[in-house]
Amino acid sequence: MLREIGVRSIDDLFAPIPPDAQVKGGLNIPRQMAESEILDYFRQRASENALGYSSFLGAGAYNHYRPVVIDSLISRGEFFTAYTPYQPEISQGTLQSIFEFQTMICELTGMEVANASMYDGSTAATESVMMADRITGRTGAVVARSVHPEYREVLATYAKNQGMSIAEVGYQENGRADLSELEEAITDKTSCVLIQSPNFFGTLEDVAAVADIAHKKGALLVVAIAEAVSLGIVRPPVEADVVAMEAQSFGVPVGFGGPYAGVIATKEKFVRQIPGRLVGETVDRQGRRGFVLTLSTREQHIRREKATSNICTNQALIALMATIFMTVYGREGIRELAQQNLAKAAYAAEEFGRKGKVLFSGAPRFNEFVVQTKEEPRAINDRLLERKIVGGFPLKKFYPELGNAALWCCTELTTRAAIDAAAKEVA
């Protein structure tokens, strides 16, 4: 090949890199390993992590059962080794699956359109606020403190350089966003109100009431959803203008925090302000149904600095996991699954409430709840670890005002035995 190219050595091909800028003697990284050694390295690392524990952690990453057909199907090279479907004639598999994803997300959220996915829930929430700014021509959001703290941190990072002011409002005794504080915080510069439901404490917000307040003052309502399984049994936030959802609960491994898939769903009238990829239906030259990426004049590769967002990718393979998950459970299954989550958490809250104090009991919740204890949550958790249980998420870092409090989560995978064992140590 070198001869055919007309050079003497491979070095000739790298002549544009000045010799003194070239690496001498090889990089200082581990030596090349055989496949068996690589497997062994990662098995060792995996064994240094929690293995075989029952876990009560949720807080934005939920441990639901993943039907085995998910990995079986997404492991097809046609799905995972394909690129973005820019050539629709040879990408219909990806395109149709995204169209199905958009359809099911609309069904679940009660919205009219959904995009092909975002990086995750935190960036979906942030981009939703930026979208509200574009729609309203205002620049500022009122954000409930009961929104996931890390989502709020991401929003703050993006907001800082866009002249966007963020006002945070507290929560009431029942764990819901404080409506009067919220009403007061909305000004004629507020583009939207951002709440989460179920919120970070697991409490269901009164979405309709918040929507009323926001809309009366000309602001939009963005509802973030971190626990998507809740939609199987909880009324969707139809009063919202934008729904920013994390789809991790739908068949995506908790995976130490990623990759996940965010989604933005909204009303049809806002579709041209939605960031990210969209798949639409059309026909080919013979009139047969097919799917394409569409409305791309919103996007960076066309609009450059005037684009709705700098986002280029979506999370197609993760969205596919979610699509398969939603298909496996279906209309009835998603409800039954959500019911089990609700029942497990209700049982656990009652058991934990015998010795600890379950906060925010004045409003309905889904599968998470906050328990306040006399003892430090970390001390309780240390004892639980000895029984192979990972306890609730200590809240002191984000909500110091709650004292010794932790956020506990139960899913369909949480056994009664684990709940009973944990309840004994909570005091």
Binding site: P18, P30, P253, E281, Q315, R335, V390
Partner: protein, 504 residues
């Protein structure tokens, strides 16, 4: 056209398949939950008005397990993939996705690790983050890194925010970012989101940065130059040292878009050549699968001066020798994503690095550059090469010769499908009108490259002799060219149940 020219592709039976929602009928089930081991609850009592009632039930499909398997298997066969053959999308680095990477990413202790599980039970995951960080710092020649950004464009934003925070700490964040006209669209979009105005920088006749123009354009208003190196036409900026010098003398920084790092990995370290901050695309250079459009991962490596501003948290070694997350970083730009980034992609990228080692990474780069230059040599003249400058990992032709018969780059790309290949990148970069941007990567054998070259030659001949064959391509796919105008004018973005009732 003669079928003999089409060596790689053949026809096969392809299955028709509707939408999964159209296969639904009440009562079919693909799931089974275990019996509830706690008392059932009265839902309406618990949720009241907030219960999702039947009149707004989520109309998800009801299908059996085999229908699910067949549905997704059938539609998958309508995709082209790296597993089928060469996928020469320029700037996308469509290399082989090793199966070991998939296996290790799915190990229970890794895929099942909760991001908030106690640090002492996350040591394995943190060691992976640490080793990957060390490797990427060495590969880039930088001092520090964050793995948090979820994709390349997300990395760009993180990098530009680091620049901004640094300059702010020096007293003035400045107003503009310089971006060459050959850049990816994400660069200007990113600069805008980071609160900067974009100033365009024209390339010279070689497709490179014009040092004189740069010298004039760099003022005290410029925060940074976002430079893709090698550029989108595959040309290495040999003067990168001088470029950095010009910027640094005016107090501006050099950002490098690492999209094309597959041309440099193991051969040169950008950090040692004046680059202050850069992102990597793990889904390009480090073989994590593209997945039909994500997930990606876009770590950002930087010099010491930018380290205090990296997103929180960072992995540190604690006094007891174990690893932990450090959240106490007062100068940090904050978070760009919840948790720690796309960890599953970090695992795969590290597996790739370990499978290669120092020699393997260098050879990978050499093979990628060799393959691209082989294609360039074999197709030059058959397709016009607008920039004669020596190129590394990709080559950009234009369609000027074929345009004489009305055949454009988009048509040639469609015809390539009939020959059993995915298209190259069409109409990008913008500085090359009618561009054909080809990046073979190291994964392709000489045999596959020769098939590709033969196909491109055959298409050039068709464009000359029977242009309609090319203009109406593809001919062998399940569906023909799609009406994109209609899709945008009357957007149908979801399936609706009413449509089904109407049809029945």
């Amino acid at each position: 056209m003669s079928d003999r020219d089409i060596k790689k592709a053949t026809t096969q039976v392809n299955q028709n398949e509707g939408l999964i929602m159209e296969k639904s009928s009440p009562g079919k089930k693909g799931y089974k939950l275990p019996p509830l081991d706690v008392p059932a609850v009265n839902i309406s009592k618990m949720l009241g008005d907030l219960e999702r009632r039947d009149d707004i039930a989520a109309e998800l499909p009801e299908v059996s397990e085999i229908e699910i398997i067949r549905h997704f298997t059938r539609i998958s066969t309508w995709n082209y993939a790296v597993d089928y053959g060469m996928y020469p999308l320029g700037s996308c680095t469509m290399k082989y996705n090793a199966r070991i990477n998939e296996v290790v990413a799915r190990l229970d202790g890794l895929a099942g690790a909760h991001p908030y599980q106690p640090e002492k039970l996350s040591q394995g995951a943190m060691k992976i983050l640490q080793l990957l960080s060390e490797c990427l710092i060495e590969i880039t020649g930088m001092d520090a890194i964050t793995l948090q950004p979820a994709a390349g464009a997300h990395g760009e934003l993180t990098g530009v925010l680091l620049v901004r925070a640094y300059l702010e700490s020096q007293g003035n964040p400045r107003k503009k970012i310089l971006i060459p006209d050959s850049a990816h669209g994400t660069n200007p979009a990113t600069a805008a989101i980071a609160g900067y105005a974009v100033e365009n920088l024209k390339s010279n006749q070689k497709g490179m940065i014009d040092l004189n123009a740069l010298e004039k354009q760099v003022t005290e208003d410029i925060a940074a130059l976002m430079l893709t190196n090698p550029s989108t036409i595959g040309v290495y900026e040999s003067d990168i040292h001088h470029i950095a010098g010009i910027l640094h003398r005016k107090g501006a920084l050099l950002y490098m878009d690492g999209a094309n790092m597959n041309a440099l990995c193991g051969k040169t370290q950008p950090g040692k050549n004046g680059v202050d901050v850069m992102h990597l695309n793990l889904h390009k250079t480090f073989s994590t699968p593209h997945g039909g459009g994500g997930p990606g991962s876009g770590p950002v490596a930087c010099k010491k001066i930018l380290e205090p501003f990296l997103p929180t948290p960072v992995v540190i070694e604690k006094s007891d020798g174990t690893l932990g997350f450090d959240y106490n970083r007062p100068k940090s730009i904050g978070r760009v994503r919840a948790f720690y980034g796309n960890f599953g992609m970090h695992v795969r990228a590290l597996a790739y690095i370990l499978a290669n080692g120092p020699d393997g990474l260098r050879q990978t780069t050499e093979d990628a550059v060799l393959n691209a230059n082989y294609i360039r040599k074999k197709l030059e003249g058959i397709y016009e090469l607008p920039y004669k400058t020596q190129t590394l990992h990709e080559v950009v032709f234009n369609d000027r010769i074929q345009q004489r018969k009305g055949v454009k780059t988009g048509d040639i790309a469609k015809r390539l499908i009939d020959y059993g290949f995915h298209s190259y990148t069409v109409s990008f970069p913008l500085i090359v009108p009618g561009a054909l941007m080809i990046e073979p990567t190291e994964s392709e054998s000489k045999e596959e490259l020769d098939l590709f070259i033969d196909a491109m030659k055959a298409i050039a001949k068709e464009a000359e002799d029977e242009p309609d064959t090319v203009l109406n391509a593809p001919h062998t796919t399940r569906i023909s060219r799609l009406d994109e105008v209609r899709a945008a004018r009357q957007p149908i973005l979801r399936w609706k149940k009413q449509a089904k009732y109407a049809a029945e």
